[in-house]
Amino acid sequence: MATLPITNCVRELRQQHGDMTQADLGDAVGVTRQTIAAIEQRRYSPSLEVAFRIARVFNQPLEVVFQFESDEGTAGSHN
């Protein structure tokens, strides 16, 4: 199955935050460890609410944590 168009740097941010585990992040945002793994592997695009919660855990703006990859393979906005 093709990867989803929303990229993220959740794994890198976890490593920068004291090697936080997927389970710890999942507990912090209210999802399972498996869902965090699926997000990192681009097998699942989280809801806006969970995306904001993840960004808040890392104290980062949403667009730093998640980016949209367009059909041409470039990340960015429509403007």
Partner: protein, 138 residues
């Protein structure tokens, strides 16, 4: 493996084994009496399914007590809805086909078993789709 995925595996195996055994029983009885087996045979299947499902889910909950008490997250709910919608089409197709068959042949016992088989097949498909979605994403 998440609790929901384990649960899907368990229910798939339980239904495949008990449902498969039931279908084999019905075919054997039907061949022996030279007609469609009476629908009352379903009672053994239903009681077996309920009992084994409860035991299996209790064992699963005991062995995964931390995950079992947690509500489904958004991905698990999404997978459940997606697989249920797909399985619903299979069930509807089976029921409509069964009704068409009944209109032509008028065999009520066969209608009963065809609808039940549609239900079993759609449930099996739902569990399979859940497992695939948990593994590969939707």
């Amino acid at each position: 493996m998440s609790f929901s995925e384990k649960s899907a595996w368990v229910m798939f195996l339980v239904l495949a084994v008990i449902g498969g055994g039931f279908i084999i029983d019905v075919v054997q009885v039907s061949l022996a009496i030279g007609a469609i087996a009476p629908p009352m045979m379903v009672i053994k299947f239903v009681v077996s399914m309920i009992f084994v499902s409860i035991v299996a889910q209790v064992v699963l909950a005991i062995t995964s007590s931390r995950d079992a008490s947690r509500p489904k997250d958004e991905r698990e709910r999404s997978i459940a809805l997606w697989s249920s919608a797909k399985a619903g089409f299979v069930f509807a197709f089976g029921v409509i086909t069964s009704l068409g068959h009944f209109l032509y042949y008028g065999d009520g016992n066969l209608l009963f078993y065809m609808v039940l088989a549609s239900l079993i097949m759609s449930q099996l498909l739902e569990y399979v789709l859940q497992i695939i979605a948990f593994r590969r994403g939707i």
